[in-house]
Amino acid sequence: MRLTASIAHFRLRAESARLPARTGVYLCAMALLGLLLVPGVALAAPGSATPPTVSSARLIETPGFWDGKDITFTGEAIGEAMIRGDIAWLHLNDDPYAYRTIPEGSDTEGYNAGLAIVVPAHLAERIGAYGSYRVRGDLVTVSGVFRAADPAHGGDMLIQADALQIVAPGKIITEKVSPRDIRLLWLSAAAALMALFAFWRSRPE
């Protein structure tokens, strides 16, 4: 979907500049090539009205390319906001578990993935739920500048966000004791009792 949007965007720019059709096709081909060479390059085309939405995986794989660029990032707020003076540190995970966690019944789909975000402290107050065992955190979109190594924060890789929006509220998760585990508990208790009896019988007088 991102690819289609990018081509459409490029065609629009070509038409507005009144370029010949062949040049437009050529530019589209170049855009596709660029997309293959540097992931996400087409989405970051200069002059975009809204900053491109980029995943943490792309940012970490090509940090030099995105460094200093305005981007939009969406993920589940995790843990807590650590408020330090005027700013707050957030962590947004954009892995599959941001939409359905393992305690909710999600399949195992790999590691957590996400990014650290620095926002003005008052923006962090909008977040109502942070992800943990019992909670799927709010799904949050932030916009701001990506820093591959921010000198103001000890060289950390982060997004310096100046806008924050709650996309979807968080959810309470409950995990019940499964009947399978109850059966296993009885079995293991029986085995432990038998072993205890055997151990007691084998001890010297």
């Binding site: 794989e61 330090r84 999600s106 195992t108 943990s132 065992y133 190594a149 084998s202």
Partner: protein, 500 residues
């Protein structure tokens, strides 16, 4: 002629292994208590299952062993190996039941990683796991740092003959006191005193950084356990990058550096001999190699211009390098960023640090500073011998608790272990390359596992081929035991098959 072990030998192994396994199982009372406090009932049941199975196996083995005879050296090494393998398999039960792992092999990988204080993990959705499951990860790594046999010696054995061999078989050879049971108790005393002090400081830091009190207490405790055991597990998937604090990083460095020191050195300092830390061959060797490797990595990163200012550069380089050198595995950069930002020079510097490792008789892994120091001095002694007059009798001293002379036996043993480690690193790297990973990345992960470090550049993941998971689990086990107990175990099985 290879002699097949007798039934009595097997019974001795069963009795002692059973006792250690029963003791190991009782450790699950800690996550059970945690689950009860935080009302995590589903996981309380899962840990209760794990505990009961450990008791069934432990008591069953002791019953099968019956009234066995005295423990000898050949039994002790087998007891250590069998206990660790059983503890790894049984400790994986709550992990498997939790649903956070793709396979039972992944659970085995994580338990072995915890017990060997490696810190690599295949657990999925770490940021949504319950406190009890996280507690179990840190109990594994904290106990593994001291050693599950050392734990058993502390609480379950009373001066039984042959217990020194149990102690030595787990990779620690230095007696802090004449009695090995008392030595084990000293190791635990040192660790628990550090636990109280270190956790208190980290909790205060976490509160100051903006964490809620309950989370600050849990994070303080867990980060301490991960740091002092040079384990590298962290409560969140971001590792210590979560905290974004220079103060927190400094405290972590102090704790994991302390954990990487020889327990004999701790004991000497405890008794007032503070100069030992400046004179000991291990700390001197560590200081020298750390300085060289930090310089090399800084040079590499300065050339690439990743960090715009020198302070950020030094902060990042020093933290990752000392974490690698102490074989802790804490990180403040994303795993893949080591490849995409840091590049080959800095990665090679970290690989060098991980290979060397820290002190013997500590919670750390790697070849160890003692062996590096001895090999270097023996090498210099030989050079002096070549340059000096033939009739000259040359000697060279090193300080390790007391002044000692370099002798052929010590140098030969140090060299033998070093060559074995390097061979293992090469083999694990080769397996990684065979599985399609780039050479440098395969080497980084292979060395990280085999040296029990836990830093990763992104190769290790649940999607990794099962062969890699198995090989890396084995490498963690071999690295932790410095081969001897593991080789003895293989020899024992071999003698059962072909012995007469």
């Amino acid at each position: 002629m290879i002699v097949r072990p007798s039934l009595q030998d097997h019974r001795i192994v069963a009795t002692y292994s059973g006792r250690i396994i029963a003791g190991f199982g009782l450790l699950m009372a800690i996550p059970i208590l945690t689950a009860a406090v935080f009302s995590e009932w589903a996981h309380l049941v899962r840990f209760a299952i794990g505990l009961l199975v450990c008791l069934a196996v432990g008591l069953g083995l002791q019953a099968a062993g019956g009234r066995s005879g005295g423990l000898r050296k050949r039994h002790a090494l087998i007891v250590v190996s069998v206990s660790w393998l059983l503890a790894t398999a049984l400790g994986a039960i709550p992990f498997w039941l939790s649903g956070h792992f793709g396979s039972f092999l992944d659970c085995i990988f994580d338990v072995m990683s915890g017990l060997t204080t490696t810190g690599l993990y295949l657990l999925q959705d770490l940021d949504h796991i319950p406190n009890s499951l996280n507690m179990w990860r840190f109990v594994l790594t904290f106990v593994g740092g001291q050693g599950i046999v050392v734990l058993a010696l502390t609480f379950l054995f009373r001066g039984t003959s042959g217990t020194f061999h149990l102690y030595a078989g787990e990779g620690k050879e230095e007696r802090l006191l004449p009695n090995v049971v008392n030595t084990a108790r000293i190791i635990w005393l040192v660790s628990l005193v550090w636990l109280v002090i270190g956790t208190t400081i980290l909790v205060a830091c976490a509160l100051a950084l903006g964490q809620e009190p309950v989370r600050a207490i849990l994070h303080g405790l867990w980060v301490f356990m991960g740091a002092f055991s040079t384990g590298g597990f962290a409560p969140q998937s971001y590792n210590t990058f979560w905290y974004h604090s220079l103060l927190f990083e400094i405290v972590c460095v102090m704790i994991f550096f302390a954990g990487s020191l020889n327990f004999a050195l701790h004991w000497l300092i405890w008794r007032g001999d503070r100069r030992e830390i400046l004179r000991n061959i291990e700390t001197r060797s560590f200081a020298l190699t750390l300085t060289v490797l930090v310089t090399v990595a800084s040079f590499g990163l300065a050339r690439s211009g990743v960090y715009p200012d020198q302070i950020s550069l030094f902060r990042k380089v020093f933290y990752q390098l000392i974490s690698g050198h102490t074989t802790t595995g804490f990180g403040t950069v994303a795993s893949r960023a080591l490849v995409t930002q840091w590049g080959p020079v800095a990665m090679l510097a970290i690989i060098g640090a991980m290979i060397i490792g820290a002190s013997s008789c500590s919670t750390a892994g790697g070849i160890k500073g003692f062996r590096m120091g001895v090999i270097t001095k023996a090498f210099l002694l030989n050079i002096k011998g070549l340059l000096g007059p033939e009739s000259a009798a040359l000697t060279m001293r090193y300080h390790h608790g007391r002044d000692r002379l370099i002798d052929d036996d010590t140098a030969r043993l140090a060299l033998m272990v070093t060559v074995t480690f390097l061979t293992m690193h090469a083999l694990v790297t080769f397996v990684g390359v065979l599985n399609g990973y780039p050479l440098l990345e395969a080497m980084f992960e292979g060395v990280s596992a085999a040296s029990n470090t836990g830093l990763s550049c992104g190769v290790i993941s649940p999607a990794m081929p099962w062969v890699m998971k198995l090989i890396l689990t084995g490498a963690m086990w071999l690295g932790r035991f410095e081969f001897f107990a593991a080789f003895a175990f293989v020899g024992w099985i071999w003698s059962v098959i072909i012995g007469r």
